[in-house]
Structure formats: C-alpha cells, structure tokens
C-alpha cells in the first residue's frame, strides 16, 4: 500500500511540475540572468523546461551551496576571490589574441589614420591580492603576445596594477568591467598618448548613483555584491548628444540614469550593446575620434567625449565596413579598446580587415 502511494505521489509531482512549466509566463525575462526565456523547440526542448522550473533560482542556489560546501569556489563560469570579488573564468588563448591583433594590424595598414590599441586587463590580470589562495593562470603569455606585436599600443596594465595594488575601487566586485574610477585612470593614460591633456579629478564632480549594483559575475554566482556605480560628471555634460545609429534613438546627456532601475543598471552608460553610436557636442567644432571597442568602452566614452566627437563602433554588432567609415570621416585617430578576455577569447576583430 505504501509503495502504491509513493509511486502515485511521484507521478503526481512530475505532472505538477509539468503543469507549472507549461503554465509559466511566456515572453517574460529571466531577471536574474538578464535574458529572455528559451523558446520551445522540438530539436532542443530542454532549455524551455529548465528555464521554467518552479523555484528555479532556489534550485540554482541549492546546487551552488553544495558546490561551495564541497570546496569548489566556482559556479556557472565565475569564481569567488577574496574581499568579496567575483572573477570571471573565461577561456582565452594566445592564438585567438594573435588573430585579433593581426586583424588590427591589417586595419592599421589599410587606413591613413593613426591607430592606437589599448587592452584592458581582466580582474585576474590586475587584482592579485583579491585572487583566491594558490590561484594560478598562465595569463602573462597573453600580455607577452601584445607586447611583441608591432601595434601602437597604450600599456594600461602598469597603471591598473598600481591602482589596484593601492586598493582603489577600479573594478566592480561582481562585474568584469572597470568602474568609472578605473576608466578615469585609463582615460588619463590614453589621452596623453593621443596628445591631449587629460582633465584632473577635481575637474569632475563624482556622485554615486547606485549602491546595490550586482553585475554579470554576481548574477552568475547568484550573489549580491552591493557594488557602487559612480558617475564622473562635469559642467555642460547634459548638452552632449548621444545617438544610437542602430535604432535611431538619441538623447541629451552622457548618462541614462533611468537604466539604473532596470535589470541591467550598467545601461546607465548609454552606448551599451550598440553596434554604432555617436557622441557629439552640438555647435562645437572638435576633432573626431573613432572608438572601436567592446563594452569596456561604455564607461570610457564619457571621458573621451570631453575632448573629441566620438564615433563608437562595437564590431560584434556593427554590420557595416569600419574601413569605409574611416575613409568617409576625417578622424584624428582610431582607438581600439577591448578587454583582454574579449580579444583573447573570441575572434571579434576579423571584420575590421574589410
């Protein structure tokens, strides 16, 4: 009798789960992972089912807690470091980096405009004191590849390592991006190489606009890192025109503070996830700079905009020809600005060869 009850109860539980899965709201987003629910497809139906599991986040936390209890500091492609930092466990290779750098080299040869390359280190390259005990990774070989390349580079690593070593808040604890402060230090290095005089810290008014930001690594780890998003503002920055040339949308001001309350507060930097954007100061005659970048460029752009009218192109989403863009515009320079994890992880720059 007990067996019969057990068997029927099991069947009832499975049917109940099926009911919940089928009845789960369609089209809604998985807020914790900042992505849409997987659509049903007979060829690969599991994503549909796993995304709609009842109490999915609790289940994920349950698994994560077991993994952590068993001594693994890693979960869903992120790992825990010291001082509350969460690092991204990206797969990188010197071969991919070389291919991307070769593409930049070919691009630099094809255009008449000076091309500068600045690569931002990941937290694992910079925040050594925050890495887990005994952590070891052969990332130095990547930097050696960059060093050996014949590109005109801006070496950001020493500055970032020095500032990180001083305990400055240059990376978000739960996100791979540089904070605005980190971007400010980077800006100073870059602008000097470009031949302009960088503004000093007192030329900006810095204000924290969000104190409970949990970035992509925090979301992967299902942790709240309470990171602070601070914005570097300056007089007249509301006059800048930011145009998203993909969607045609435009706005005044360098920051979109409405996004601070969305699922992805990093969208406060208004060029995020955009293939081609433009930041100009209407009515002013200024030099133009082409910024070829990934999402690391989002936080850098407001600083550069103080010196240049910017065309910002993310080759991952840009459908046009970057070389044509350079030929049609008289840019003072082109700045190739990417995270090391991006250029050593994926072939993202092959398009700029054309």
């Amino acid at each position: 009798m007990r067996e019969k009850i057990f068997c029927r109860l099991c069947l009832a539980i499975l049917l109940l789960l099926l009911f919940f899965i089928v009845r789960a709201p369609r089209g809604a987003r998985l807020e914790s992972e900042n992505r849409a629910y997987t659509a049903f497809s007979l060829a690969s139906p599991d994503g549909y089912f796993t995304d709609r599991l009842p109490m999915r986040e609790h289940l994920l936390r349950f698994y994560r807690n077991i993994a952590l209890a068993l001594g693994k500091n890693e979960f869903a492609g992120a790992f825990l470091g010291k001082k509350g930092y969460i690092f991204s466990a990206e797969e990188t290779s010197a071969e991919i980096l070389t291919k991307n750098l070769d593409a930049v080299s070919a691009f630099a040869d094809a255009v008449d405009t000076p091309v500068y390359t600045a690569i931002v280190g990941a937290k694992t390259d910079v925040l050594f004191t925050c890495l887990p005990q005994l952590y070891a990774d052969d990332r130095e070989s990547l930097w050696q590849v960059l060093e050996k390349s014949e590109l005109q580079t801006v070496d950001l690593l020493p500055t970032l390592r020095r500032r990180g070593g001083e305990g400055k808040y240059i990376y978000y604890r739960g996100d791979h991006h540089l904070t605005s402060l980190g971007s400010y230090y980077v800006y100073r290095e870059i602008v000097e190489v470009l031949g302009a005089a960088p503004y000093v810290a007192k030329d900006f008014s810095v204000g924290v606009v969000k104190a409970d930001f949990s970035g992509s690594e925090a979301r992967k780890m299902l942790r709240e890192t309470q990171d602070r998003i601070a914005l570097f503002c300056y007089a007249g920055d509301g006059e800048y025109l930011v145009e998203n040339l993909d969607s045609g949308a435009c706005m005044h001001g360098l920051y979109d503070e409405e996004k601070l309350h969305s699922a992805d507060p990093y969208g406060v930097f208004p060029i995020a996830d955009c293939g081609h954007a433009r930041i100009t100061l209407p009515g002013a005659e200024r030099q133009k700079l082409l910024l070829l970048c990934d999402s690391y460029g989002d936080a850098l752009a407001p600083f550069l905009a103080r010196h240049y009218d910017l065309d910002i192109v993310d080759p991952r989403y840009f459908g046009g020809s970057v070389q044509t863009l350079v030929k049609e515009n008289s840019y003072a320079a082109v700045l190739v600005y990417f995270g090391m994890d991006t250029v050593a992880g994926r072939e993202v720059l092959y398009k700029i060869r054309f």
Binding site: C7, I13, P45, L59, L134
Partner: protein, 417 residues
C-alpha cells in the same frame, strides 16, 4: 532526447507512464511500442527510421534457420559505419537483436518484437537485455514494489550522472589540460570515477525506468573498482556486455575448456569484438589489447585462487583507461610520459595545487560513493526502515532538479558507441 534531460523527465516520462498504464493490459505492448518509437524519433532525429527498419530485418531473419540471422545482424554494424550512419543506439540494438536471433526466438507478433528490441529506456545505450528477461513484463499488472524500487534506482542514477559524472568530467578536463605528472594522476583518477558514474548512473536510470514499466532488468555494474583481478573487474563492469561476449563469442569459440591455445583465441576474439564495438580506432584496439594481455596473463600465470589484489588491479585498469580516453595512440603515450614524469615533465605546479584544493573534497566524496558502503547502508535502510528512505529520495530529487536547472550536461559517453 536522453534519459537525464528535463524534457524527458518532466514531460515525456510522466505522460508515457499514464498512457502505458491507462490502456488495457493486453494492449500495453502496443502502447509501449508506440512510446519506444516516439522516444527513438526524438533521440535519433533524421535517423528515426533506422531501428524500425532493423527490427523488420530482425523479424525476417528470425525465420531463417541456423546462425545466418546472427551473423547477418552482426554484419549490420560495420555496414552502418561504412555508410556513415551514426544513429544513436545502433550498436546496442545490433547486439540485442543478434542475441535474440542466436537464442532462436521467433516472436510472431512484430509489434511485440519492436517493443522489446526498441525498449526506450535501454534503446540508446543499454543495458543489453535478453528477450527472456523482458517477455514476462509485458502483460503483468502494475507491480508497485518493483516500480518503487525502479523510481529509487532511477533517482540514484540521476544523482550519479547529473551531480557526480558531469562535475568529474569537468575536473578531468581541467587536470588533463595541465602538463605535470600530478595533474596526469589527478586526471586519470577523475576519468576513472567519471566513466563509472556516467555509465553506471545511466544504467541505473535505464533499469529504474524499465522497472517503472514493469520490467525487472539485472544490474549492469557491481562496484567494479573493488575487484581483486582484472578478470573480476570486467565481470563487474558493464555486466550485460560482458555476459553477451561470454555467451555469444567466448563460449561458442570454445572458451577455456579446450586447452590454452583455444582459450587464448576465444579471449582474443572477445577483446577484439569489444574493442571494435567501441570504435574502430587504434586507441580502442590498444585498449582491448591491453586488457586481453592482462586477463590472459592472469589466466595463464596466476595459480587458481590467487588474485592480483585491489591496488594492483586498480592501477592496471587505470592504465587501460588512458587508451580509452586518448583519441590517438600518440596522445596516449604522451599522457604516459606525463604520468610517469618522463621527458622533463614537471612533478607539479601551482595550478595543480589550486585545482587540487578545489576538487579534492568532491573527488573524495565521489570515490566514497563508488564503494559499496553507502549503497549497502541505503539498501539496509530500505529493508529495515523504509520510511526513512523517502526523505532521502526527496532530497535526491531536489538535487536532480537543481542539476537540471544548472543545465549544460556532459553527453553520456556510451551513447556515442
């Protein structure tokens, strides 16, 4: 679709159970046949027609006298490989159908034969079942104690596959990518545990689900890493394949009763068949050759009743796995070079300590779970205080759901054979 995916467990399985038990008992085999074919169509994709066609061939061959059917069926396997047909389950199907033909069964009802040969829990990756073991399961009323045991076994198998095997494979890949002797040792240990949890877990799921449908299948693994000899290891590892090879290759060729020469010939044929069944690469041939040599040496050199012992057996088996996971013999020998610290290989590096520190507790837990201690304790609890098993089953189910939520599972290794 495989037996450990969310779609199968939360969609296909409950609906199939309802359909199967809702139809009158006499028509259940037809319902099961339909379920089998839908399952196979979802699992095999464009090759959905392969097994129904092969079932038809088996049906035809069963009326041919002599061993023609048996050898004809075995010939299908290299033929499909030559034709580039890589449908899941073909290699298991061929062995199951060949055994059916060898045993001289002549099931007149084609649908019933199809329900047996394509039995969905076992169709893609075994265990290999005999017609005698299944014939009685078709028309019986719901056997709740068997179904309950099946559910618990399937849960245990899911934990083995989704919780242990997937994480062990990740650990193996991490250590295998290293370049030191210590990482090679760790990789080998992780692989040994991974392949055990992956395959025995899958077998438990298959046997458990078959039990839910009323079929009582024998176990496929019996804690093989505790064996005292290599021969014993393979009597406890993938038991259904070992039994098949013994009954349809080793014994028909003379076995060990016609002198040492004949014994070596039979044994060599068994390992050649096994290696070729796994794949026609040089690495598998080396794997088969390694174990042939070991078992032949055991049979010829060791006096009756004397065993190699647990540690020596384990070490020899682990060496054999190197051929199994290496894609080429060169890769296998390069791994041995690392393993034995030859050719300037470093003993260890900082990354080994970091990875070791993170993986050690989990691997230790996995190693403990691979011993019979936990299994015996749970069996004792099931017999004496069954009510305590249910909370454990609920916890295992929560763990399985959490593994499903994490997603991205390592494909079952034996599904590729």
């Amino acid at each position: 679709m495989t037996l450990y995916t969310a779609f199968f467990l939360l969609g296909f399985l409950p609906i199939s159970v309802i359909v199967y038990y809702a139809v009158p008992r006499r028509a259940r085999y037809a319902a099961l046949c339909a379920i089998d074919l839908v399952f196979y169509a979802l699992a095999a994709g464009k090759f959905f027609w392969i097994l129904p066609l092969f079932t038809l061939v088996t049906y035809g061959l069963s009326f041919v006298k002599g061993r023609v059917g048996f050898f004809g069926m075995l010939a299908i396997l290299p033929l499909t490989r030559l034709c580039g047909i890589s449908a899941v389950g073909v290699s298991f199907f061929v062995l199951r159908a060949a055994a059916y033909l060898y045993d001289g069964h002549r099931e007149k009802n084609f649908v019933r034969l199809c329900a047996f040969l394509c039995l969905f829990p076992t169709v893609t990756a075994g265990p290999l079942t005999r017609y005698d073991a299944l014939r009685d399961g078709f028309d019986k009323p719901a056997n709740y104690p068997l179904i309950e045991r099946g559910i618990l076994l399937a849960l245990a198998g899911l934990v083995k596959k989704l919780f242990f095997a997937d994480a062990l494979y990740a650990a193996f890949a991490q250590f295998h990518a290293g370049g030191t002797a210590l990482s090679a040792v760790a990789a080998l240990l992780c692989y040994a545990l991974y392949i055990y949890f992956d395959f025995s877990g899958y077998s438990d799921i298959a046997i458990g689900i078959a039990a839910v449908f009323g079929f009582d299948l024998p176990k496929n693994f019996d804690h093989p890493y505790l064996s005292r000899s290599v021969g014993e290891f393979f009597r406890r590892w993938h038991i259904s394949l070992g039994t098949w090879l013994r009954d349809y290759v080793y014994i028909p060729l003379g076995g060990s009763r016609r002198g040492k020469g004949r014994m070596l010939l039979s044994l060599g044929s068994v390992w050649l068949t096994s290696a070729l069944w796994h794949g026609s690469t040089l690495s598998y041939l080396l794997w088969g050759g390694w174990f042939f040599c070991l078992i032949a040496a055991e049979k010829l050199l060791l006096p009756r009743g004397v065993h190699l012992g647990h540690v020596s057996t384990l070490a020899l088996v682990l060496i054999g796995w190197v051929f199994f996971f290496s894609k080429t013999p060169a890769a296998a020998f390069a791994f041995f070079e690392r393993l034995f610290c030859l050719g300037g290989t470093l003993l260890y590096c900082r990354a080994d300590l970091y990875n070791g520190m993170r993986q050690f507790p989990f691997v230790l837990l996995a190693a403990f779970c691979a011993t019979p201690i936990l299994h015996n304790a749970l069996c004792a609890l099931y017999r004496r205080k069954k009510v305590l098993i249910y909370p454990l089953a609920a916890a295992a189910f929560a763990l399985v759901l959490s593994c499903l939520a994490v997603g991205a599972h390592q494909p079952f290794l034996y599904a590729s054979f």
